[in-house]
């Protein structure tokens, strides 16, 4: 009993340490770098401890999924009832909490090294721009440039702490409202962190673009939440997913395209996910978001925030599939599957033509999220959840690895004094000798991404998605995803070949060296997960090795749903396809690109792909320019200046003319003239008349006073006495 209470308390407290860290750093320790990162990492560590505790406890619970750990409080009085908020640990949130805690902690530790803690302050570093290096003199009197510490060091940790708070809140919440709160906090932190180097105009624009684009999704999602609340009167997951509630939602038909209420709500919520997880058509913000520092890209745009979108679809899966019988896809699910598959292949094609190491990974993220969304669209719940978690680990690994590479390149740039883009892969080459730890971990991550068989986690999760697609007969989807998987392996190997293999192509690459332990240790730890996490989800009926270890993941996470999904019978076709596309893509990528030394030799630098199918230009033309025009011409010039100011000026003129009338026709003639001057004139006239009495001659006075006195005396005597 006491254990239960402590357990629930710990779940409530999971999001708290990062939040406290945020406030402490912002309010008190903003100037102190070491103290700030210690507070942040301490907080992340505390949340990690709590998460591991919850994870271990949850593992031991029988029939976890039917029984969950839930704790609620009454929060908002709503008429006769209370709106309750609370925390929920069921299988899905258990595994989510696990990967969130690990990736957050690793990225926090990585950030210490990434922002060059311990290095001297830069020569002319200013807050708001990336650090540019410091000149140091060594003992021989020789000057050379080294990397300098980030001026806004503490602020970064504050922001990522706030972000961690948002993600933990989202994962542990038991209702859509606090989930949405966490969702929005992460959106805010995304804006703050993409625009971290606010001195760069490109970073500022990217931050606004990210926020605006996800906002479109968020508004629609809020509509969905409101509609759901009005239909069911609750936002708590366990209550919505009761069979009676779901039946009611399915039964009600809405006027929108004839969808059922469940389908419509699912669609609206999914549109929010499209924004947050950067699916087509709202994918445009994620590549630009690479303007932020690499830990931000890793955390927000690989491991956690974009995963939050997929997490929401996983959470609302019972609602989305409420009227799904197993054969014909419902309209909502069709939309989801289509968008997921389309995005997967679209992004994969763009990724092969980009040269910036982070851009490639960004498009790769979009593509992989498309995989997960497509899987959910066809009802492959466990496969999607599995891929979500493995992807979080290896994508975070890849991003952190790319950050390490960029750091090495920047060191080379400072050393040689060359002015080249440290992110451009065509400036790299041969880094495997200079940065071995980075190379091996990046390779493991890349192989996991490509789905290298057996040894990497990506293989197991991707294979499950393909198997599920094939097994349920979704052949178009299967082929699309297979092609996308091929392209994935291809561009990943392209990336590895250009960056690490071969010979250094520039002097900067020649002078690169390995990054400090704060950056490499997280890479190693994440690499361990990227390899081993796959082995918890080996399907039971896999040839040879299936069945040696039970498919823990399937059993555990499958228990979240009311009906545990059955594992599919084994089919050789998806397995062979998986092997073919993965190995084939890797092979081709290596073969083609080991000869390519410059962009001119690269045959895939197609301008359509390099310009991302011109989506940005289209949106600019369709939406941004009209909005600017409306703001300028309509709202400002017409409404504000002409109409509103016109009314105000009319009022002013009326008041002025009224004042003029009052002054000239009432105040001056009547009040001044009649009352004021008139009284004065009367007094003056009477005074000038009466003054002649005072003649100054005493005898005159005496005579007059005697006469008056006599008269009065006579009066007195005859009238009164």
């Amino acid at each position: 009993m006491v254990g239960d209470i402590i357990e629930k308390l710990i779940i409530w407290l999971l999001p708290l340490p990062p939040l406290l860290s945020f406030f402490l750093i912002i309010l008190f320790t903003n100037r102190k770098k070491a103290l700030s990162h210690r507070i942040a990492i301490g907080a992340a560590g505390l949340s990690w401890l709590g998460s591991m505790f919850v994870f271990v406890r949850a593992l031991g619970i029988e029939e976890f999924g039917k029984t969950v750990i839930e704790s609620t409080v009454n929060w908002l009085p709503t008429g006769n009832t209370w709106f309750q908020v609370g925390v929920l640990i069921d299988p899905l949130s258990t595994v989510s909490v696990f990967f969130v805690a690990w990736t957050v902690l690793m990225i926090f530790i990585y950030s210490i090294g990434y922002h060059n803690f311990g290095q001297p302050a830069g020569d002319h570093d200013i807050m708001g721009l990336p650090p540019h290096g410091a000149t140091v003199q060594d003992t021989k009197g020789q000057k050379h440039k080294v990397m300098s510490v980030e001026p806004m060091y503490a602020r970064f940790f504050a922001f990522i702490s706030l972000f961690a708070f948002g993600m933990f809140t989202l994962v542990v919440s038991n209702n859509l409202l606090t989930l949405f709160v966490g969702w929005e906090i992460m959106g805010l932190c995304s804006y703050l962190l993409i625009g971290f180097w606010y001195g760069k105009p490109s970073a500022r624009d990217a931050a606004v673009k990210a926020f605006m684009t996800t906002r479109i999704g968020d508004v629609v999602m809020l509509l969905g939440i409101a509609f759901l609340y009005s239909e069911t009167g609750t936002l708590s997951f366990r209550e919505i997913f009761r069979p009676e509630a779901l039946r009611a939602l399915v039964g009600k038909i809405t006027p929108v395209f004839g969808l059922s209420a469940a389908g419509l709500i699912g669609l609206l919520l999914f549109i929010g996910v499209v924004g947050k997880s950067a699916q087509w058509p709202l994918h445009v913000w994620l590549p630009d978001a690479m303007e932020g520092p690499t830990p931000v890209s890793a955390m927000i745009h690989a491991a956690t925030m974009v995963s939050a979108g997929v997490y929401v679809v996983l959470r609302m899966f019972p609602l989305i599939t409420a009227d799904f019988s197993g054969h014909e896809l419902t309209p909502t699910m069709s939309v989801i599957a289509f968008i997921g598959a389309f995005t997967a292949i679209l992004a994969a094609t763009i990724a092969v033509a980009h040269n910036d190491i982070k851009r490639v990974l960004a498009y790769s993220t979009i593509s992989q999220l498309g995989f997960m969304i497509a899987a959910l669209g066809i009802g492959a719940y466990v496969a999607a959840a599995f891929h979500l978690i493995t992807h979080a680990f290896f994508k975070a690994l890849l991003f952190l690895g790319s950050g390490s590479v960029i750091h090495g390149m920047e060191h080379g740039v400072l050393h040689t004094g060359d002015h080249l883009d440290p992110n451009d892969m065509f400036n790299m080459g041969g880094l495997r000798k200079k940065m071995p730890v980075t190379f091996w971990t990046f390779l493991i991550g890349g192989l996991a991404l490509s789905g290298f068989p057996l040894l990497t986690a990506g293989f197991w999760s991707k294979d499950e998605i393909l198997a599920d697609a094939f097994g349920h007969g979704r052949l178009v989807l299967f082929i699309t995803l297979a092609v996308a998987a091929f392209l994935t392996a291809f561009y990943t190997m392209r990336q590895i070949t250009l960056t690490f293999l071969g010979q250094p192509r520039t002097k900067a690459a020649k002078h690169a060296h390995e990054t400090p332990w704060t950056m490499t240790v997280p890479l190693i730890i994440l690499a361990v997960f990227a390899v081993s996490y796959g082995w918890v989800g080996i399907p039971e009926n896999f040839p040879v090795i299936g069945g040696i270890v039970p498919n823990w993941f399937h059993e555990f996470v499958g228990g979240t749903l009311a009906e545990r999904p059955e594992p599919l019978p084994f089919n050789i076709v998806p397995l062979l396809t998986s092997l073919a596309v993965a190995l084939g893509g890797l092979f081709f990528g290596w073969v083609v690109y080991r000869e390519v030394k410059s962009p001119q030799q690269d045959n895939l630098q197609i301008s359509l792909l390099k310009n991302k199918y011109y989506f940005d230009e289209a949106y600019n033309f369709l939406f941004v320019k009209p909005a600017s025009w409306i703001a300028e011409k309509f709202s400002y010039l017409f409404l504000d200046r002409t109409v509103i100011d016109g009314i105000l000026h009319a009022f002013a003129r009326t008041a002025l003319s009224l004042g003029h009338i009052f002054r000239n026709y009432f105040d001056k003639p009547v009040v001044n003239g009649l009352v004021g001057d008139g009284t004065a004139a009367v007094v003056k006239a009477s005074g000038s008349g009466l003054r002649r009495i005072q003649a100054g001659r005493i005898q005159y006075y005496m005579a007059v006073s005697l006469a008056v006195f006599g008269a009065l005396a006579v009066l007195y005597y005859f009238l009164l006495a």
Binding site: G696, R697, I698, M702
Partner: protein, 103 residues
Amino acid sequence: MSIPLSWFLILSAALFCIGLFGVLARKNAIAILLGIELMLNAVNINLVAFWRYLDPAQMAGQVFVIIVFAVAAAEVAVGLALIISVYRRRNTVVADEIDMMKW
């Protein structure tokens, strides 16, 4: 004393009115003061007559008269000093010409 009281009173009234005429009708400022002296003497006669005829044992009447003497003396002294001062300034003792305190 066989003189009726009314004789004294009428005498003092007449003296008073002569003095009044002098005050109102004379040009010279000193002549005005002379008229005032006559009026004061008439008052004194009245007082002494009343003292003698009503209650000679009570000294209030005579005391009053003595005080009137003193006041008259003071007034004449100050008044003449004023007239002399005005005479030095404006070279006139005609009351009608001393009319500066007017409009």
